[in-house]
């Protein structure tokens, strides 16, 4: 079947089987940052943005992307580097396998929540599992990153 959608800012026409999942389809198109960690929508590794909202690409048919804007980490390299530096400075990127889904959800959170508390952050990201870091290093990096963004924004406003 035909599928027309935006992938990381590029409008594309693709052929897709009706039963292909968005996760497999995106990887087929070279978006290898999208990972799979379960079959039951429990781990959040496959998180991508659809029209700015986080979705689990493992449990969504590729066809659902029709007319939508899909963004994977391949389309947010600069932002990933920016946040990733904070994660790396905690050593909390560890194996890295959960990082792309987790980080994409942080970007979604930034869009959605104004100045979230630590509790709100944890709740928003509850669906993103990580077996290596024990989460606390991730939380430290998010708090530092949000603080940095705030300062940056303030400085930009002052200029």
């Amino acid at each position: 079947m035909n599928l027309s959608f935006w992938l990381n800012g590029v409008y594309r026409h693709e052929e897709v089987e009706p039963d292909t999942m968005l996760l497999d389809f995106l990887r087929e198109k070279g978006c290898y940052s999208v990972k799979c960690g379960c079959e039951t929508s429990n781990c959040g590794l496959c998180t991508v943005l659809m029209d700015g909202k986080p979705v689990l690409s493992c449990s969504m048919l590729a066809l659902r992307a029709e007319g939508k804007k899909i963004v994977t980490m391949e389309g947010m390299q600069k932002e990933a580097e920016e946040f990733g530096a904070f994660l790396a400075d905690e050593g909390a990127e560890q194996c890295g396998f959960c990082n792309p889904g987790f980080i994409m959800n942080i970007f979604a959170m930034e869009n959605e929540l104004e100045d979230p508390t630590e509790e709100e952050i944890k709740e928003y990201l509850a669906g993103n599992l990580c077996r290596c870091s024990g989460f606390v290093g991730q939380t430290r990096s998010i708090l530092k990153y949000l603080e940095y963004k705030k300062t940056k924004k303030r400085e930009e406003a002052e200029e």
């Binding site: 039951t40 781990c43 590794l45 980490m73 530096a85 396998f97 024990g134 989460f135 606390v136 290093g137």
Partner: protein
């Protein structure tokens, strides 16, 4: 410039955080055949008849293999140094099926859909026998899991396949019964730990292809590339020289990938068909036919005198190997050796064990490797002893804990502790937790009660006299160095840690070290990353290789300066005799590539005769809901002695990660079976690992000793850190409620039932 003890950013960090294609399945070529396995629905069965004709006719199916097609030569999947202590009890495919999920047939197809379709078309007639599922009934029972004549234990470990014994033994020192008889206080308790899945986020996976020499290339998410090469040679019955194993980035291992869970299948397919192939285990498969922690039942008898000196410990472990014996004879040892050793005054101890085969999923290596189970049992028994004596459990430990230069009873890999700051760890943990104020509990007045609990732990640093670390250090033409490694960074950061060591030894910047691993064709031999060995063992190999390379650089520099090698110095940038007479590293490097007969490359192998233990103290504060019995860990304070922390950031995150895994083991994780032997917890839906909402604060500090036998004084950290949560939380729950749960996990049901029972008794 110095990097040791600095929180250096991991060298692969930016690739990981930006989602670069660096993992096995990102690298697999697009034309790979998809390999799938048909799995046994029965716990104990024989294949009477298997028909693959219609499966082979499915469009896109390239091959279907059954037990009739594979070599009849037994091997072990355990990634251990040869000769392995694990029994040779595996075929690639067998006519006898030993657990629900055991492999029945291999399918290779052009597409996943074709492979799935073929699986459904394989017709199997099973003869279903009664299984032995209860580990208590396995030893000398009438159902034998491995009665076959070609079963083999390469090393005497007290195994007897005609008795379902995978290993057994007794170790004794002193007269335990006599001393226990003299003790004023004794406890005799039995604790039960369950199987747990490592649940690394990247499931098991392997990709294979043949190269232009006709050799089998295996790209795999493994902790043990060199062992995998041998295992595949054994399994396929081909010389391992025909096999090359490459390890890319790994999405976590925690011991799971110390067993060759998936490699044999695509390796066999590619070897037979000549086509590239790959296998990706689903989460379901990673739950039902992987390599979880051994279920153990541990009876502890402990005795102390009236002053609180622990004088005797008697530990008996019954361990459940499951259907195959990977890591079974070895894990059990740690349950005694690394728990009894925590009590330095012990005058007599006994450690006995039986490891039995049953018809459940085979267990394997999981972070802690038996020590986790043993320490849960012994530390719990000591806590019970303290309560019996009405003594603060911290106090009891202060009287008995390991001390530098003092004995480590039962621990054969160091008679005394070569380095130890357990006392400082305890002191600091107490302060962090505000123990004296919080012990034992505080009623919050809203139906909730808070309690605190403590535990000590230790592990080893490598397997003494066995683990081999390798490092290959060479100077490149541009003055940079390449550090070739055979150990496996699985997110732990050893590529970076070892580069820090190299950079300091060579007095160069860490950016000037190119690190590379692992490719069995190129990397120096290394037993792999397990047994908390990497920083300690391979780190020492790196250290020695660098020292040797410095000598070679000096020799060539001296030749260029036309002086004797003894006359020059090297400061990382220049080889010199004085201000005027010097050559730069770059000049030496270039000289090394032109008209030179002396290699600027050193390979070093290291093995330590001892295994110095790292130590730690963990303290948990829990909040229990008296109504529902639910337990929440609101705070966890941990202080570790890992020797010199080469990278404090990575020590900290390893500790945090290990503690949270330990919390999962203590409170949630349980591999449960139906009475037919089927696993109930076959997805993340039923098998709940901790999420970020399940944990409170986890606070970690380091009080490192200096280990003389380690690189820059380092010991290990990776496994140690999973060992305290189970006993600390169990005692915190007891202190909060008076309910003692001796079977993990500590579920709300068990706590609520305990509270109810107390009420009824009153």
């Amino acid at each position: 410039m110095s990097y040791v003890s600095k929180p250096v950013r991991k060298k692969d960090a930016m690739a990981l955080v930006t989602g670069k294609p660096v993992f096995t399945n990102d690298l697999a070529s697009k034309d790979c055949l998809i390999v799938k396995i048909l799995r046994s629905p029965h716990a104990n069965a024989w294949i009477e008849e298997i028909k693959t004709g219609t499966a082979k006719q499915v469009n896109g199916v390239v091959a279907v293999y059954t037990y009739k097609d594979v070599p009849r030569k037994r091997f072990t999947l355990a990634g251990q140094t040869y000769p392995e202590l694990s029994p040779y009890d595996h075929y690639i495919l067998d006519q006898r099926l030993r657990f629900v999920g055991d492999a029945v047939a291999i399918v290779a197809a052009e597409t996943e859909a074709a492979a799935e379709k073929a699986l459904k078309r394989i017709k199997v007639k099973y003869r279903v026998d009664e299984p032995v599922l209860d580990m208590h009934k396995a030893k000398d029972g009438k159902i034998l899991v491995h009665p076959e004549e070609d079963w083999e234990a390469k090393i005497p470990v007290g195994a007897d396949n005609k008795r379902n014994l995978c290993a057994s033994g007794v170790e004794e020192s002193g007269d335990v019964e006599k001393i226990l008889g003299e003790c004023k206080y004794t406890v005799d308790r039995t604790y039960h730990t369950k199987a747990n899945q490592q649940a690394m986020m990247e499931t098991f996976r392997t990709y294979c292809y043949k190269d232009y020499f006709g050799r089998l290339n295996v790209v795999s998410s493994t902790q043990v590339p060199f062992h995998v090469r041998r295992i595949l040679g054994n399994a396929l019955d081909i010389p391992s020289s025909k096999i090359r194993v490459i390890k890319p980035r790994i999405g976590g291992g925690f011991g799971a990938k110390q067993t060759a869970v998936t490699e044999i299948y695509p390796a066999f397919v590619t070897w037979m068909t000549g086509r590239p192939s790959k296998i990706l285990y689903s989460r379901y498969e990673s739950q039902i036919c992987a390599s979880p922690r051994h279920e153990m039942e541990i009876r502890v008898r402990a005795g102390a005198d009236e002053n609180g000196i622990v004088r005797a410990l008697d530990v008996y472990t019954l361990s459940n190997a499951g259907a195959y014996g990977e890591h079974s004879p070895t894990t059990v040892g740690l349950s005694g050796h690394k728990s009894i050793a925590l009590y330095r005054h012990t005058e007599a101890h006994r450690f006995a064990y039986d490891v039995v085969y049953t018809n459940v999923q085979a267990a394997g290596a999981y972070r802690g490797y038996g020590a986790t189970q043993g320490i849960y049992a012994v530390e719990s028994a000591i806590n019970e002893l303290a309560h019996m004596m009405k003594m603060d459990p911290v106090k009891l430990r202060e009287l008995n804990m390991p001390m530098e230069g003092e004995p480590l009873p039962a621990y054969q890999d160091c008679i005394t502790a070569p380095s130890c700051t357990m006392d400082q760890c305890m002191q600091r943990a107490k302060e962090m937790m505000n123990w004296d104020e919080k012990y034992p509990y505080k009623d919050m007045g809203n139906g909730k009660v808070r309690g605190v609990g403590v535990a000590m732990a230790m592990q080893g640093s490598s397997i003494a006299g066995i683990d081999v670390g390798g490092a290959d250090m060479k100077l490149n033409e541009d003055g940079s160095y390449t550090l070739g490694l055979g150990c496996t960074d699985m997110g732990t950061g050893c590529d970076t840690i070892l580069s820090q060591i190299a950079a300091d030894c060579l007095e160069t910047s860490i950016e000037n070290i190119v690190v590379f691993g692992v490719d069995t064709d190129i990397s120096p031999y290394d037993s792999g990353s397990y047994a908390s060995a990497t920083t300690y063992t391979t780190g020492m190999a790196v250290f020695q290789a660098c020292q040797e390379l410095r000598k070679k650089i000096c020799a060539l520099g001296a030749k260029m300066l036309e002086v004797n090698p003894e006359e020059v110095n090297f400061d990382g940038e220049f080889v010199f005799t004085d201000e005027e007479h010097k050559v730069s590293l770059k000049e030496v490097a270039i000289k090394g590539t032109c008209g030179n007969t002396q290699e600027l490359q050193v390979t070093r192998t290291h093995c330590s005769p001892i295994s110095p233990p790292p130590f730690m103290v963990g303290m948990a504060e829990v909040e229990v809901d008296k109504e529902t019995g639910s337990v929440k860990v609101i705070d966890y304070a941990a202080v570790v002695d890992c020797g010199t922390p080469i990278n404090p950031n990575l020590v900290r995150v390893q500790t945090e990660g290990g503690i949270v895994q330990g919390i999962g083991m203590a409170l949630h994780e349980d591999v449960q079976y139906t009475e037919k032997g089927k696993i109930r917890n076959n997805s993340f839906m039923q098998y709940k690992i901790p999420s970020r909402l399940d944990i409170g604060d986890v606070r970690v500090e380091i009080r490192g000793s200096y280990e003389p036998s380690g690189p820059f004084g380092a010991k290990s950290i990776g496994e140690l850190v999973i060992n305290t949560p189970c006993p600390a939380i169990a005692d915190a729950v007891y202190n909060a409620t008076g309910v003692r749960v001796r079977e993990l996990p500590i579920t709300p049901e068990k706590v609520a039932m305990g509270i109810l029972k107390q009420k009824l008794e009153k």
